[in-house]
Symmetry: C4
């Protein structure tokens, strides 16, 4: 079932390990098949060394029912499901505990857009959610994590801001494919690292002007993009 | 004698080197055979490149007597012995000088639980011992290091807090097996690194709420754990 | 066309990836053929794994016209062209988003010459440009980036200061060959990293005295240099 | 001539590269043959990839005359010569620009003994020289660097403090053999890194008590040492 998607999702999970975003078995990547509204995701607690496409679990996005696979899906599955329902056009999601992005999530601060490296990928600060309430933590914790992310995006376009920090927890990143979601997770980690170093070096760190932010974002995104090959 | 345990202990010692927790020959891992109350531990000052299971030394936990092996055991052996006597159910102990955990030990501060990465493994701040007294330093220094750790746990459960910082020295971590102790030592180092970055990014860093701490710890530990495969 | 130059430029692009200056496909190196006033440069958005000398693009420095190659040149091409026109004797240019140099660019600060490592390669602080104006950002953004760099060098010798930070963006480095430009980019990243660590360790960080700066720069450069083999 | 020494010195030079203490061709290791008072040292500006024992240069310690080899010796040769003349019993010297130790040298501060990792190798703070005078910088710069180090040790035992920071420049480390000098250079870099992290984590960082410092130093050094195998 959905063999190509499971292969992509397996490769994307291995890619976040390879990119240094993962300690032990932390982190998971999922992918969506929009036609059938099915999601493929890493199984829970399986080591990256043993991960193969036949261990990837497939679920129905709307019901959350497991459609294929013998292992239990990632414990963060409900968060992924909520995000696919909330964000149209997203077909890959990465959750990691990558060091620098997690530190900003633990500091409970959005990451300011201090430079064009940031602007090439994110059209403004990387948002940070509010802390979940005690009720949200106690009951449907993972689904509520997704709902609090969605709430953070009420006035934000998830395609222009394809990564978020969950306060006290860590980052999520997404994109039109699992591979693009991995790319955004890699960029987020680097941007978080640069932002900390920028604040250490500057007496009065300031985000770049809006004009420069837009110029760089639009060099790489949208109909007038001119970065890369056609 | 205890060949399987010596193999596990040898593998665990090599694992801390592989994980980047070790400079030169610093650090040592031990394992316990609860049935015979025997402990296997790395020999003193032997390079990791030359370490094999037949160089691992076996001692009686209660008397400290060497039961097997031709090399001298780690100079930190008395600390390990005291911990196995004090903490029931612990069968693996790691001592390292891993960079970030050691820096917190040198700062003589517990590591606050700033996020769920921390809470997944440690149910609260990673404790830091008091500094040893001059008498403790001068006489049974290594055994007293163990006693000061045990003293720090008078009101703490070592299974819920499987790592500690010894003030001015460095970290110890433990678990139900040598491999699990290594895992906790790896997590401790990453959590220490993230905590420093969190404090650099936040004006007013705050630990996560107790509800979130418990939710994450209990996702992975105890009878209602739902992380990983059954 | 210009096969040897394309090979050098390809090798120099791979060298900045190998040296850890590059995330994803960020960064580009160019080389000049002074005889024909032609420039060879990396194509836009091509992954380093797939880069070969036949994918390098050749352009006329003065007209900016593509002379050879089927791919689109780097989107930063206009910046490189302006610099070759402005700085005589430069035949290699590196643009990267290397972590520490970019952080200083984002902090919008020159990097002070805190030590002899710096002075061995740069004869004074690494300059930082002013922020571009909104008009410069909106119109000929990449060419104006080159013009603002040239403006920064009105009273500076580009051979004595072979690297610069573009405010809010990142570093450029150059030299008499693409390989020497790569070397300067590597040194810049290390010098930026050391400068941040110096400021963290010192209450009152001070640049080294002029005499020491000159002594070290002239050990390695100019007619009385005595470093290396003759 | 002195083939075994040249092999040791070559291996030690490669070891500092392997240990991550070296960027480009920076750094050099020398070794002494006490019987003939001859010193073997890396040639100047030769890349580590091309270094072989037959490229190592041999000089007379007292006259500074080249005795063997076709290449020019390291430009730091006069510093090494002065140190072998000044410090009895030292037969290996490492000079590097390793990142964290150089940052402390640039901050012009001794590295406090914040923990037992430090105390295991250095019996107190790692000293930092005064800045050279303008006259010292202008004339016999490299020899005067050695003299200023020797001056710093008027009341210090070089065997108990086998590493030093030269203000505004970088570290030197030494030992009874080139290999031991390399070990001290590796420890120095790690200790410098930990000290910066300790100061970032602690409100009021304090060196460890003298009793603990001595206990750890003497565990590994002197007639009552009990670390390692006999």
């Amino acid at each position: 079932m959905l063999e190509a998607l499971r292969e992509d999702v397996c490769a994307a999970n291995l890619a976040i390990k390879e990119a240094g975003l993962v300690t032990l078995t932390w982190g998971n990547v999922s992918g969506l098949d929009p036609a059938t509204r099915s999601m493929a995701i890493k199984p829970s607690g399986v080591s990256y060394a043993e991960l193969t496409p036949d261990k990837i679990v497939v679920l129905a996005v709307d019901s959350g029912e497991v459609l294929w696979g013998e292992l239990r899906p990632s414990s963060d599955t409900p968060t992924h499901l909520v995000l696919y329902r909330a964000f149209e056009g997203i077909s890959g999601i990465v959750h990691s505990h990558s060091t620098h992005a997690t530190a900003w999530a633990q500091a409970r601060r959005p990451i300011p857009a201090y430079g064009t490296t940031h602007a090439d990928h994110f059209r403004g600060a990387v948002p940070c959610t509010r802390m979940l309430t005690a009720a949200e933590m106690a009951e449907e914790y993972e689904a509520d994590t997704g709902r609090v992310i969605a709430e953070t995006y009420r006035r934000l376009d998830p395609h222009e801001h394809p990564s978020v920090l969950v306060a006290g927890h860590g980052p999520f990143a997404w994109g039109p494919t699992p591979a693009k979601a991995v790319e955004n997770a890699i960029v987020l980690e680097e941007v978080a690292r640069m932002a900390s170093l920028t604040e250490a070096a500057a007496q009065d760190p300031r985000p770049i002007p809006r004009t420069l932010l837009d110029r760089h974002f639009l060099r790489k995104h949208g109909k007038d993009a001119y970065y890369g090959q056609r």
